[in-house]
Amino acid sequence: MATRMVTLRLDPSKATLAEIQAKYQLRPDQVDPKFGVVSVRPEDHLYAVLVDEQVASRLEGGEDVVGSFSNPKIETFGPPRKR
């Protein structure tokens, strides 16, 4: 299933997987542990977690949830290929 990055505005002391799972009632397998909790804009206490689409839809509009964003494929540009 496709994944999304969900951004959350959190107290830095509570920016842990355990705190997030508890706050949003998520099972451990519903938040990607390899991605973890990534600070994307420290000055705004903004963090990202990686979840599947269904979980992202459930989180949208929740307390301290800023947004749910695409996780597109990325690819090396080169070497350029002929049409």
């Binding site: 804009r41 964003f69 990325i74 690819e75 090396t76 540009f77 350029p80």
Partner: protein
């Protein structure tokens, strides 16, 4: 805009044209009468023969019978110049066309002998690129990348291969990173795109300390060979920011080269969707890019290979603008490609950009014989690390405490060799990076 101006016959113009010498007196009246017009003082007037149809009627087609005469009284004379771009262009054209000496004003477009496309043979080699970049001058100033972290965010680097090609970069293994599930270690990854990028960064910055970020080797479900997901790049940037913040402010110098992006808008939510990446400053990757630049990193992204003339076969943007997401971020240098003859390669993506319109920012060399990983180091994939090497070379002597990323970008723009339209244009950005001129512009 460059223009050709056709002047009526005059004795002075004919004399200059015959002798092949310039004649400022021929055009001085025009320059003083038309605001913003500038005549090229190096370009002598060129005689255009008088022409008429056999019937004496006006010319409707170049297919009809025409007769020509070099009688000076019936000839006209071409000079070369430029008129302002933007809002004042129409007034300048109108004023020039109304001048009594002027027959007409015509565009003087850039002509290229043969635009380079995917699959074309290489043009020049890494030594040619080094000459164009004035690397010997940089070395004289001890600007070679020493004391600078140069992160290659790509498919990973193979250090043994680089050494076999005469490169001897340092690699900071402890501060490098591989996504989970990747079995190879930093510096020992398969020889591929990332190794090419590391080689090309070494043209101007052979002594930079490489950070190997093999994001495009990701084994994340959904990724394919030489691909990953943007969340892998978010993780990588988070780690790079931790490293940067751990450096003393007085010595902070980190350059990040990114020769990747998206080939299709279908990989993303559409514009206007709140979760969209391509056009959305609030996307977490766009935020972390801004945050890393604020912390002092110089971030470079390839503009992409979806140029109008001969786009990469993977390009699926159609009429949509291809320079999107972080490749169009206002806090990064978005890099277009030119060959060593300074002609834009036909696949280099053109602006405007999606997050900020004025993209690409600058151009630099690509499509040359270099690393040997491919027949040529091509694409904006090669241009980006070539530019990153120049930035890293400068950073050897100008850490962020002396020159912020924004200040350095501004100097690169100001010192670039203008190509295409006057000033910024969507093909070349501000022009071709000119390290010789950049050295002179540094504080």
């Amino acid at each position: 805009m460059k223009v050709l101006i056709q002047l009526r016959s005059s004795g002075a113009a004919h004399q200059a044209a015959t002798r092949g010498i310039t004649a400022p007196s021929v055009t001085s009246g025009l320059e003083s009468a038309v605001s913003g017009i500038s005549i090229d003082p190096q370009y002598p007037p060129v005689q255009l023969p008088g022409v008429q149809t056999t019937t004496g009627a006006g010319i409707r087609s170049l297919g009809q019978p025409l007769t020509f005469t070099l009688d000076p009284a019936r000839s006209t004379y071409l000079v070369r110049g430029s008129i302002p771009d933007g809002a004042s262009q129409a007034a300048a054209l109108q004023s020039a066309a109304a001048h009594p000496d002027v027959v007409g004003v015509f565009s003087d477009p850039l002509i290229e002998s043969c635009i380079v496309c995917p699959g074309d043979p290489p043009v020049g080699n890494a030594s040619d690129v080094a000459k164009r970049l004035s690397v010997s001058k940089l070395v004289t100033k001890k600007m070679d990348g020493h004391s600078v972290f140069l992160a290659v965010v790509d498919t990973g680097v193979n250090l043994a291969y680089l050494k076999s090609k005469g490169r001897t970069p340092k690699l900071d293994i402890a501060n490098s990173w591989v996504p989970s599930g990747v079995s190879t270690k930093p510096g020992t990854h398969p020889i591929d795109h990332g190794t090419m990028c590391a080689y090309d960064a070494g043209i101007a910055a052979p002594k930079a300390t490489l950070l190997d970020y093999a994001v495009l080797l990701s084994k994340t479900p959904g990724s394919t060979v030489m691909a990953g997901l943007l969340s892998d790049a978010v993780l990588a940037y988070s780690k790079l920011r931790t490293i940067l913040n751990g450096m003393p402010v007085a010595k902070r110098a980190m350059v990040i080269s990114n020769s990747w992006g998206m080939f299709s808008p279908t990989w993303d939510f559409p514009p206007g969707h709140p979760g969209n990446y391509s056009d959305n400053a609030n996307h977490p990757f766009n935020l972390i890019v801004a945050s890393l630049e604020t912390a002092g990193a110089d971030i470079l992204f390839a503009a992409g290979n979806c140029g109008h003339n001969c786009p990469d076969s993977r390009c699926a943007f159609g009429a949509a603008l291809p320079i999107c997401g972080a490749n169009s971020h206002p806090a990064v240098l978005s890099v277009a490609g030119v060959d060593v003859n300074k002609a834009r390669v036909g696949y280099s993506s053109q602006g405007p950009g999606r997050l900020t319109a004025k993209k690409p920012d600058i151009s630099i060399y690509t499509h040359f014989v270099g690393s040997g990983v491919y027949p040529e180091d091509g694409g904006t994939s090669a241009a980006c690390p070539v530019a990153a090497g120049v930035v890293a070379a400068i950073r050897s002597k100008y850490p962020v405490s002396k020159l912020s990323p924004l200040q350095l970008r501004s100097l690169i723009f100001k010192s670039a060799e203008d190509k295409g339209g006057t000033g910024f244009d969507f093909d070349y950005g501000w022009g071709i990076v000119d390290p010789g001129a950049l050295l002179a512009a540094l504080p």
